[in-house]
Amino acid sequence: MNLSKDDDWLDMILSNQADHIDDDGFTDAVINRLPPRRLRRRWLNGVILTGAALVSGTVLLISLPNETVLYTQISALLLSQPIIGVGVFSLILSVVAGLMAGWMLSPKR
C-alpha cells in the first residue's frame, strides 16, 4: 500500500471538516461581556515619565565626573546664562524621557 497516498486520502477526509465559521454576532457577544473600561490614566503615565526623567537626568548630571566637557559646560551655562542652561538641561531630560517612553511603550514589553 502506498503510504503517501494513504496519508493524502486520510488528510483529505480529516481536513474536509475545517470550514470557516462565520462570526454571526460572536464578536459582539464577547465585547458585550467585557468588564467596564479601565479609567484612562494617561496623565499618570505623563507624571511618572516626567518624574523619572527628572530624577534620571539629575542623577546622570551628578554622576558625570567634574572634568567632563558636558558637566563643565552645563554647570557654566546654568551659572552664567540660566535660561540657556535650563534649556540645554531640559533637552537632555527630553532625550532621556524619550528613550524611557520608547522602552515603556514598546509592544514587546
Binding site: K5, D6, D7, D8, W9, L10, D11, M12, I13, L14, S15, N16, Q17, A18, D19, H20, I21, D22, D23, F26, T27, D28, A29, V30, I31, R33, L34, R37, R38, R40, L105, P107, K108
Partner: protein, 181 residues
C-alpha cells in the same frame, strides 16, 4: 492593510482599545470555535460558550502574553485549558454522543454523510489523547510543535499520539479508500 496581532495587542494593553480587541476576536474566532466544536464533538452551543469564556480570559490575561509563542497558539492553549476545566467540573469522561449525529449530519457534502458518520465513530475508537492530537494537528491544521504547546505535552508524545491515531483511523476507514481516490 492588515494590522498585525502584535500592534492590536499593544493597543489593547495601552488604551484598553475595544475596537482592537474586537478585531483580534474576529480574526481568531473561527479557528477557536472550530477547535472547541471538535473537542465537544459538535456541540455548537457549548463550544461557543467555551469560546466566549476563552476570549474573556484572553482579554484579562493579555498583559501576561510575552510573545514566546504565536498569539494564535496562545489563544488555542487557553481554549484547550478552558475545555479541560469544563470537563473536570462537569465530570465528563466520555464524548457527547447526542451531538455526534448532529456533527455528522452537518459535515461536508464532498464525501456524504455516511463517511462523516463512519469517521465520527472511528474517532470514538481512538484514545482521548490520540483523538485530541489528531483533531488539533490533522483537523485544525496545527504543526506538531504548536500542538505540543497547546496541549502542554512533550513534542514526542504528540507525534506518537497523532501517528497512532492516524493509523487507527486508516484501518477503520480503509473500506472507503477505494471510493475516494
Amino acid at each position: 492593510m492588515t494590522i498585525p496581532d502584535s500592534e492590536l495587542i499593544a493597543r489593547v494593553r495601552l488604551d484598553d482599545d475595544r475596537h482592537a480587541f474586537a478585531t483580534l476576536v474576529r480574526r481568531h474566532q473561527s479557528n477557536v470555535r472550530g477547535l472547541l466544536r471538535r473537542l465537544t464533538d459538535g456541540n455548537e452551543a457549548l463550544a461557543d460558550d467555551l469560546a466566549q469564556e476563552t476570549f474573556l480570559k484572553v482579554y484579562r490575561s493579555l498583559t501576561s502574553f510575552r510573545g514566546g509563542s504565536k498569539f494564535s497558539t496562545w489563544i488555542h492553549r487557553i481554549a484547550y485549558n478552558n475545555f479541560i476545566s469544563y470537563k473536570r467540573k462537569e465530570h465528563i469522561t466520555e464524548v457527547y454522543e447526542d451531538h455526534m449525529a448532529e456533527d455528522t449530519a452537518t459535515g461536508s457534502d464532498l464525501h456524504g454523510p455516511s463517511l462523516q458518520h463512519d469517521l465520527a465513530y472511528a474517532m470514538k475508537e481512538l484514545s482521548e489523547a490520540e483523538r485530541t492530537a489528531v483533531r488539533v494537528c490533522c483537523q485544525c491544521g496545527f504543526s506538531h510543535s504548536e500542538a505540543a504547546q497547546i496541549l502542554q505535552l512533550p513534542l514526542g508524545t504528540v507525534k506518537t499520539n497523532v501517528n497512532r491515531g492516524r493509523e487507527k483511523l486508516r484501518r477503520a476507514l480503509s473500506a472507503w479508500q477505494e471510493g475516494v481516490i
